[in-house]
């Protein structure tokens, strides 16, 4: 498979492409305005991490006290543990189930539009609406328990401290798997049919075709899904804001940041927590960009 090998492009001298020089400032203007807004706000917001501010009186400089406090904060570590579990469970599950569904979808001719719409449906809903629906499903007298009861299987305390995080994970996977399946479906459809025909002539089994053609050619899609999926999962908030388990069992870093800022009026501490979260996001994303060369195969 020569096409799978990666070519090393030649480094070019840095100069503006001819004819584009006068357009560059215009073309980049909207994005730059957005950058200025976000960075100004972020720098201002994060600088508050060095202050004690209750939103009312003026911020008071406290140096690194907030950061030191975080390291001793039991609830921060609980939130971090929960968040990491959400990432570790939901991202691989969405990739595995989404890929499976995409392969099935790619082989279906009849009703394919209906299947796509149905699988994408949860993505069309706001996170809040989805969480409300699941509050109802997980209720002690809710739909799931009444089904289990009807089957004579007893009931499950879905939102008890032992089960709540797993229940939240199931909801997140349910809500996101259709979107991932569509990403993979499009990826599958751009794999040239000739590859499969050639390997069939060579007598390759379906299993072998998957590992030698489908999976390698899908790695760019997989990479995109994993990178953006981890960024989103590390910032899980809306789901656990509505569907919250007792005793911090579903506390995430984002929900803890929100709680300290808007119910605790501790903007300084909340900003310091946000800085930690950015650090975690940066490390996770940077590591993936670094490791991608080990497993991501580009077509050319």
């Amino acid at each position: 498979m020569a096409t799978l090998s990666q070519t090393r492009p030649v480094r070019r001298p840095r100069r503006v492409t001819p004819g584009a020089a006068k357009w560059l400032p215009v073309l980049l203007l909207p994005v730059t305005v957005g950058l200025v807004l976000v960075y100004f706000s972020a720098v201002y917001g994060l600088a508050l991490g060095f202050t004690d501010w209750n939103l009312i009186s003026d911020p008071a400089w406290v140096g690194t006290a907030n950061f030191a406090e975080i390291l001793d904060d039991e609830r921060f570590w609980t939130a971090l543990r929960n968040t990491v579990e959400i990432v570790a469970v939901t991202v691989p599950a969405k990739v595995a189930i989404g890929l499976g569904l995409a392969i099935l979808l790619s082989r279906v001719a009849r009703l394919s539009s209906f299947f796509r719409l149905a699988l994408f449906f949860p993505t069309s809903c706001s996170v809040v609406a989805v969480a409300f629906l699941w509050v109802y499903l997980y209720d002690p007298n809710g739909l799931l328990n009444s089904w289990l009861g009807a089957l004579g299987l007893g009931t499950v305390k879905w939102m008890s401290p032992d089960h709540a995080l797993t229940s939240v994970n199931v909801m997140i996977i349910w809500g996101g798997v259709g979107y991932v399946a569509l990403l993979f479906l499009a990826g599958l459809q751009s794999i040239p049919a000739e590859y499969y025909e050639a390997s069939r002539l060579d007598g390759a089994s379906a299993w072998r075709q998957f590992w030698s053609i489908t999976f390698p050619l899908l790695t760019p899609t997989t990479f995109f899904v994993v990178v953006t999926g981890i960024i989103a999962a590390l910032q899980t908030f809306g789901e656990v804001f509505i569907l919250a388990g007792p005793m911090d069992s579903t506390l995430t870093i984002m929900s803890y940041i929100y709680e300290r800022a808007f119910t605790g009026f501790e903007m300084g501490y909340s900003a310091a927590l946000s800085a930690f979260l950015i650090l975690i996001l940066l490390t996770a994303t940077g590591a993936q960009l670094w490791f991608q060369r080990k497993w991501v195969t580009y077509e050319r």
């Binding site: 073309l27 976000v38 972020a42 099935l104 790619s106 459809q189 809306g238």
Partner: protein, 295 residues
């Protein structure tokens, strides 16, 4: 992120579209349909239950532990439009989501074009700066952004939500750049030789080539704007200017939630997003393929 790839030929676009995916269509066996149908049942099941509950009165819902309604009523759907200005809110939401999505797509497309096709000093670092904004949690920027938007006199107008969307998003720039990078550079050179201006090249040459990815982004951006709760809540004050997503919260009380009406409203709010999905669905086929390099 230092390697330039803008002259690579593109294998994907060189394959005639008609050849793609043909191998598999119609080959599905019975068990494969069965698995898909099961997946659809698992995913749509809760919506069916929601639809049933939206047809119950609150009294029936409160007093019975059964899943099935004792009597069916459409009164909750009437209440959604009667008790809050839902029709008005849908128009507000469409105005914001459509303008914001269009503006955001244009900004992201021209931005992504610069990062994918133009060479200029500081391109890669600047792209990193764009990507980094994906990592900033919204809680950090909420209050400073509010202060800026208030200083611009935009609070309680839809422009407080539309204009920030018109600066594009890091996700869209990233996504479109990946796709633009797989378009051969010869397209650009040919267009310039034909006397096409740079914007003309973008909109007449490149836009049709990334129609699929743009359709995906149109759906995702529309959904993000339509389903946004915090933005309208913070930036808008007047109930008549609110969006449907905020409107739904009017059925949540301090101590009690009128669940059947909430669900009826949630299903009403799903109608425009479903239409948007169906309209753009036929462009999706190739849209989500990431065939470029993510370096």
């Amino acid at each position: 992120m230092s390697v330039e790839l803008d002259r690579r030929p593109a294998a994907v676009t060189s394959v005639p579209p008609a050849r793609r995916g043909r191998r598999t269509h119609g080959r599905a066996r019975g068990w494969e349909y069965a698995v898909l149908v099961l997946a659809v049942v698992v995913i749509l099941g809760p919506f069916v239950v929601a639809a049933l509950t939206s047809l119950r009165t609150n009294a029936d819902y409160l007093s019975s532990t059964s899943v099935l309604p004792t009597e069916l009523t459409f009164s909750n759907y009437v209440r959604v439009f009667d008790e809050i200005p839902m029709a008005r809110m849908i128009l507000n939401g469409l105005f914001i989501a459509v303008l914001g999505t269009l503006g955001g797509l244009v900004a992201s497309l021209v931005g992504a074009f610069c990062f994918a096709k133009l060479r200029f000093a500081g391109r890669e670092p600047l792209f990193g700066v764009v990507l980094f904004t994906m990592l900033v949690p919204s809680t950090v920027t909420l209050i400073p952004l509010y202060t800026i938007i208030r200083a611009a006199g935009l609070v309680d107008t839809p422009w407080a939500l539309i204009l920030p969307l018109c600066t594009g998003s890091a996700f869209a720039v990233f996504f479109l750049r990946q796709h633009l990078m797989s378009v051969p550079h010869e397209f650009y050179e040919a267009a310039v030789l034909d006397g096409c201006s740079v914007p003309g090249t973008i909109f007449r040459v490149y836009l049709p080539l990334v129609r699929g990815p743009l359709a995906i982004l149109a759906i995702l951006n529309f959904l993000a704007s339509w389903n946004d709760l915090l933005g309208p809540l913070i930036y808008l004050n007047t109930p008549e200017k609110m969006t449907p997503t905020v409107g739904l919260t009017y059925f949540r009380g301090q101590y009690t939630t009128d669940f059947p009406v909430m669900l009826a409203g949630s299903l009403v709010v799903l109608v425009p997003t479903t239409i948007i999905f169906l309209v753009f669905n036929r462009h999706i086929r190739d849209g989500l393929a990431i065939s470029g390099s993510l370096k």
